[in-house]
Point group: C2
Chain length 177, copies 2
């Protein structure tokens, strides 16, 4: 932004005030090929859903990702961090901070793994279980709200389509849903 002010302000002094043409309306934006891109549509939709999801869980300040971690630990008590990292497609080093955070909040505990002293066995605390139950309820109701836009049948079809895309994209991969 030029700080100089050497230029005269468009002299409104002259009475030439007659023609104020269409005033150059912003005009419609052209999104070109974007709306046809599946990745773009996915991003938009995910933004919308996560925004909604987030606001619905905001008071717990648990992000969708953290919720997923809690679910996995809840459903697979005693699992290790590495397995969890694999399942969530996060790096092991990332998972350290995630568990640190959840442990600080007293939602998750690291315990000794029975067979391997390198591993941490992850368990929900009572608080964690309680919070998870409450969040699951909300998530399910939130999900119902979304599914209402499509109907059960189309919702199932949508999920199947997404799975199909993934399978087609990455020939082989496992330990992930």
């Amino acid at each position: 932004m030029p700080a100089s002010k050497t230029q005269k302000p468009a002299a409104p002094t002259a009475g030439a005030r007659a023609s104020k043409p269409p005033a150059a309306k912003p005009a419609e934006l052209d999104f070109d090929l974007l709306p046809d891109l599946i990745g773009y549509q996915l991003r938009l939709t995910q933004l919308a859903i996560f925004g909604d999801f987030g606001s619905s869980l905001a008071d717990q300040s648990i992000s969708p990702g953290r919720f997923g971690v809690l679910v996995l630990i809840g459903a697979n008590p005693g699992m290790t961090q590495s397995r969890l990292a694999l399942a969530t497609q996060l790096d092991r080093s990332t998972m350290v901070a995630v568990i640190d955070q959840l442990e600080t909040r007293k939602l998750v505990e690291r315990r000794a793994a029975p067979n391997d002293r390198r591993s941490n066995a992850l368990w929900l605390t009572e608080d964690g279980k309680k919070l998870l139950r409450a969040m699951k309820r909300r998530v399910r109701s939130h999900e119902k709200h979304i599914a209402a836009a499509l109907g059960d049948e189309d919702t199932a079809r949508l999920i199947a389509m997404l799975a199909r895309i993934r399978e087609h994209l990455r020939p082989k991969r496992s330990d992930q849903a």
Copy 2:
């Protein structure tokens, strides 16, 4: 990672969900309700697509988001940063860095806006146009590859479904595709 299938309801036989055998083996992971969540599925699919997309554009080191910005500027030459921020759902302050980056790489230019000395009019440089053309080709072919997993008809249906979800979620909003 021991692997298996793309995971399934996991619950070994319906209903039974109490016993916890002292699994000596990694055992199957239970993803619980996650696979039924649209948001979760979207995230997985987006990860897969963007990963693929990214690797296909890696040599240009242009992220999907940056690509979208280039497309918008290309299709709406002279548009301002604010409009662009609105269209991409980014903050205006975020857009500054984005444009800085693209300008440094000589793909985009900030020019004086004709009617408003506060605004920057954004234009692609020749390099920008060239790169955009090349990337569009790749993106389209990439898109074809994805669509091949579904077929044209289902692809269109998928996109329509996603749009429906968004509309249902956020009552109304404009300036976005």
